[in-house]
């Protein structure tokens, strides 16, 4: 855990940069805005204490907020996602549980498991985020469509990212 900490910090910084300086500037037709930074929460180790999960999520969200001047918006959504992560992990747990020394990543549990797990959490995050952004339930379906489309793109990006990890990486 401790020795992988620098890598997590690096991954944190890389994801924030990617999100803030590249993805935030890409808005396909005003509807789609993928949020890749949630990957950081997705791939945290199984053993991460729950309270730490919430705090890390808040820190990550707040960092994104600070760069995109939407204080509180991403942090609240990311914290919601982190809150649901342990329950989602429990729902999708393999019959004999998660093995130690493994991470919630595609290469350990397969594309099918990872897809279900990430889709669930990304949808939670995106719906929460988009509805907090508009802060109303009028235009419900327009917001719904935006959340769905952005989720699809985020999921695609998250899946692609999974193939960038080196085979022998312990991250």
């Amino acid at each position: 855990m401790i020795k992988s900490l620098p890598r997590y910090i690096l991954s944190f910084i890389v994801l924030v940069f990617l999100q803030v300086f590249i993805l935030n500037n890409i808005q396909f037709s005003g509807y789609i805005n993928p949020y890749i930074y949630v990957l950081f929460i997705l791939v945290l180790p199984f053993e991460t204490p729950k309270w730490l999960l919430l705090i890390v999520a808040f820190a990550l969200g707040l960092t994104i907020d600070l760069f995109s001047s939407t204080i509180g918006m991403h942090s609240s959504a990311t914290v919601v996602m982190a809150f649901f992560r342990p329950y989602v992990l429990k729902i999708f747990a393999p019959r004999d549980g998660y093995e130690s020394e493994t991470l919630p990543q595609l290469r350990y549990y397969g594309a099918s498991w990872f897809l279900r797990y990430s889709v669930f959490l990304i949808l939670i995050h995106h719906f929460f985020l988009f509805y907090v952004e508009v802060f109303r339930f009028s235009n419900f379906f327009s917001t719904f469509a935006r959340a769905i489309l952005s989720s699809i793109f985020t999921i695609i990006l998250v899946l692609i990212s999974q193939y960038f990890y080196r085979k022998d990486s312990r991250l």
């Binding site: 729950k50 919430l54 204080i71 509180g72 609240s76």
Partner: protein, 276 residues
């Protein structure tokens, strides 16, 4: 205490989550104008609804008080409207005449109590001393005789009706001026008896009887009624049955006639009597 701590420890994840979410939302609302506006809008609406509801409830709880207040208000308004208010319309229809001295003043009044079936009938009028009524004023209705004011209170007065055996009126036959004393017969509210008309007076059934003006109460010429029948009584006088022109059963608006010179006449008569 221990179990409470255990409980808090058990739900620390949920508590922390709620704490961070609340914090995030407070950041969101305090740092984003749009969200702030929405939030303030929402809370204002919510508060508005809440206040409306509580006000409704409070109103319901204070219904008794409100009813009381409304009843008082109603009474106040009822006291103001015309029908319950004694209008202080100009009481005397005076004419400021520099050549002729005005002798009689007229006041309109309404009969608020009346009787015809006793031997001593009285009326009550809705005006009294405050409106200038005094005892010994004449009361007429459409120019025909009703009675004489007897007692006066602040806002009301009682009138001796002509249908009262105590009232005697000085009356005369209009066409020739023979005068006598008129008195109710005590039975029929439409008939009075005129006495002391001399036998040589030429009278016929249907002749008009009016007030003589000899008393200081009635002006001369107030209509009393018409001769119904007459007969000789005690050798030298007629006793005439007079059909009264006033319908005492349907009296409503009357005029009260004040004789401005009444005091003067009375004083003079008093003086003359004393000198004898």
């Amino acid at each position: 205490m221990r179990s409470l701590l255990n409980f808090l420890l058990r739900i620390h994840f949920l508590l922390l989550f709620i704490l961070i979410e609340v914090f995030s939302f407070s950041l969101l609302i305090n740092n984003n104008n749009f969200h702030k506006a929405r939030f303030v809008n929402f809370t204002r609406q919510f508060a508005g609804n809440y206040y409306q509801k509580t006000t409704k409830l409070k109103e319901y709880l204070s219904l008794a008080e409100e009813n009381q207040r409304l009843a008082e208000e109603n009474n106040r308004l009822l006291n103001i409207i015309e029908s319950t208010y004694k209008s202080d319309e100009i009481f005397f229809r005076s004419v400021n005449d520099t050549i002729l001295n005005q002798r009689y003043r007229y006041t309109s009044a309404r009969v608020i109590n009346n009787s015809i079936n006793k031997k001593h009938n009285f009326l009550t009028l809705n005006k009294g001393g405050q409106q200038g009524l005094k005892p010994e004023m004449a009361v007429v209705s459409n120019g025909s005789i009703v009675g004489v004011v007897k007692g006066v209170s602040k806002n009301y007065s009682t009138v001796i009706s002509l249908l009262n055996l105590d009232l005697r009126i000085s009356a005369k036959v209009k066409k020739n001026g023979y005068f006598g004393s008129l008195n109710w017969n005590g039975e029929d509210y439409q008939t009075a008896i005129l006495k002391e008309i001399p036998l040589h007076a030429n009278i016929l059934v249907g002749d008009t009887i009016i007030t003589s003006g000899f008393s200081s109460i009635f002006p001369e010429g107030v209509l009393i009624g018409f001769i119904k029948s007459f007969e000789e009584k005690a050798g030298s006088f007629y006793e005439i049955e007079v059909d009264l022109s006033t319908d005492f059963k349907s009296l409503d608006n009357v005029s009260v006639i004040g004789n401005l010179l009444q005091t003067e006449i009375k004083n003079l008569e008093q003086e003359t009597e004393n000198n004898d």
